[in-house]
């Protein structure tokens, strides 16, 4: 502060208005723009929900809960049920988790606890590259490489391994009484376009996200606990189990995120799943998923109830992914709070 000038009031600058105005304007603009962005996102979510409910209204009122108990999806006879598609989504997701989760956790353990530094980085990077491959490219590979291989080799072998495994299914006698019936886990000729193929392609697609998150949570396992266990004479695997146990909530969250991805994934699945509206215990039966029927038939829905039923499927799909995602967020925030 030079002594030749009077003291300016604290909080104002001697160089005057223009620059100060600009800086204030910048504050307000960025603040405002961010706020509008947030409002827009919330609005879009609400609008999507509103549109889905509005679109599905006719089906909601006319079909109601029967939608969830009807297996057939036949626009010609105006029969609409989401059961087969929910089953397809559920079964393919289950198969995907069955193969994808152990693989992902194994890779994460390799990256965090086995690989020398010169390997851990590249492997980590390659796994993340898998996430960048477009869904349709997986589908193309599935349809032209995996499905033929399954049809010619994989499923023949699997048939011989699993041919005596029976599940149970609900069936109906001719007198309309329901009962349990045995159902083969593998049945019929291998087609390569079936629940198994849909599940396997999903398994590959969910590995990157589960691996990445599992790796991050395993890295949070404290060195003190690692040393504590090793100092007591724990083997590598015993210590690894301790680490997995320590990180179990985070790993569970990772699995849920992978599950959400599997539920919503569309393109690759419809290219290998066979696109049939049926509930079958056999892994070799063709099926369809909720997202699959939407992608396949959105151009064909030419009368109001058909279109409305499509919206109904979309609503069911959105709610199920939303619920799994919210579950994952809650679990992950839980582990963050603990650390």
């Amino acid at each position: 502060m030079s002594s030749g000038r009077t003291n300016p009031t604290i909080g104002t600058r001697a160089d005057g208005g223009a620059r100060q105005l600009y800086r204030r304007w910048l504050d307000h603009t960025v603040f405002g723009a961010s706020f509008i962005g947030v409002l827009a996102m919330i609005a879009i979510l609400l609008i999507v929900f509103a549109v889905l409910i509005h679109g599905a209204w006719m089906a909601l009122t006319k079909i109601g809960w029967h939608f969830f108990a009807t297996q057939a999806w036949n626009p010609v006879t105006d029969q609409y049920g989401v059961l087969a598609f929910m089953y397809g989504t559920g079964l393919t997701t289950f198969i995907a988790l069955l193969f994808g989760v152990p693989a992902s956790i194994g890779v994460a353990i390799f990256i965090t606890r086995m690989a020398p530094p010169f390997l851990a980085g590249p492997v980590s990077f390659l796994i993340e590259v898998l996430a960048a491959i477009p869904s349709v490219a997986y589908g193309l590979w599935g349809a032209f490489v995996m499905s033929p291989w399954l049809q010619n080799y994989g499923e023949n072998w699997l048939y011989h391994v699993l041919r005596h495994v029976k599940l149970i299914r609900v069936g109906k006698y001719p007198n309309n009484h329901y009962a349990w019936f045995p159902a083969n886990l593998v049945h019929g000729g291998p087609s390569g376009s079936d629940f198994l193929a849909g599940g396997l392609i999903l398994a590959i697609m969910i590995v990157p996200i589960i691996t990445a998150i599992t790796r991050d949570v395993l890295l949070q396992f404290p060195t003190e606990l690692e040393n504590g266990a090793r100092g007591l004479g724990a083997t590598w695997w015993q210590t690894t189990r301790l680490a997995i146990n320590y990180c179990r909530i985070g790993i569970f969250g990772a699995v849920i995120l992978g599950m959400a991805r599997a539920i919503g994934e569309t393109m690759a699945v419809i290219m290998v799943i066979g696109n049939t509206d049926q509930v079958r215990a056999s892994l070799f039966a063709g099926g369809q998923t909720m997202s699959g029927v939407l992608a396949n038939e959105f151009l064909e829905a030419d009368h109001p109830i058909y279109l409305s039923a499509m919206f109904y499927v979309a609503l069911v799909l959105m709610v199920s992914t939303l619920v799994t995602n919210m579950l994952a967020r809650t679990l992950l925030s839980g582990i963050n709070r603990r650390n």
């Binding site: 404290p222 003190e224 606990l225 040393n227 266990a229 100092g231 007591l232 004479g233 083997t235």
Partner: protein, 281 residues
Amino acid sequence: MDSRFAVNRQVGAVVNTQDLSENAHDNHHIRRPAIQMRGVEVYYGKGRAVHGVDLDVNSRQVTAFIGPSGCGKSTILRCMNRMNDLIRGCRVRGSIQIHGADIYDRRTDVMELRKRTGMVFQKPNPFPKTIFENVAYPLRIHGIRGRTQVADKVHQSLRMAGLWDEVKDRLHTSALALSGGQQQRLCIARAIAIDPDVLLMDEPCSALDPIATKTIEGLISDLSRTLTVVVVTHNMHQAMRVAHQTAFFFMGNLVESGPTDRIFNNPTQPQTLAYVTGQFG
């Protein structure tokens, strides 16, 4: 490997029976050393952290390792249960024998070695499990499954660690709710639950308040009746209070070792004198 240690343990046991028949503190000179180090050198990558250490650690006594930060005392401690194996680029030369068995021998079972040499760390590191499960963990990983066997051992270890009265009513609550001093005693209970011959303590009190420190020091003295204790400390007064023997390390060298009394009152090396009189460090 099991039998190898078992045999050596018996040899130690025979010697120790003799010790117990006389005054244990006065005749340490006739003991067989529990740990013998000859020409031990430790390298981290290309740098040498420890230069040719020759040291005997007496059985059933407390030996303190003192010296300024970075002098190699913790590194030496971590050689004794081969925790240095876990550090990439760490190599150990020379020979270390515990009860006559060369622990860096190719055939040594490292897990069995660590079972025989418990370790307590600077920062209390209980597992995020219950108090009971923390002490039961080493038993379980070494294959002890019987319910009563595990429970008896857990209770006994907690008593030995002086923690029993404080936690007996909440054995099945989280260990993380204990105070720092209690957590450290829990870690000691965990380390002694599998009956080690040797207890290695790496600055066990440096994260604790004076009262908790006093408790742990009393515990160290008690434990040394049945165990060989090696304690790394930066606190010279602690060494004076608890240790029968003291070894002074400086810049990766063992400068001097001997009875604690002599090291502090009548050291032969000028560096030791300078350190124990507080001229550096």
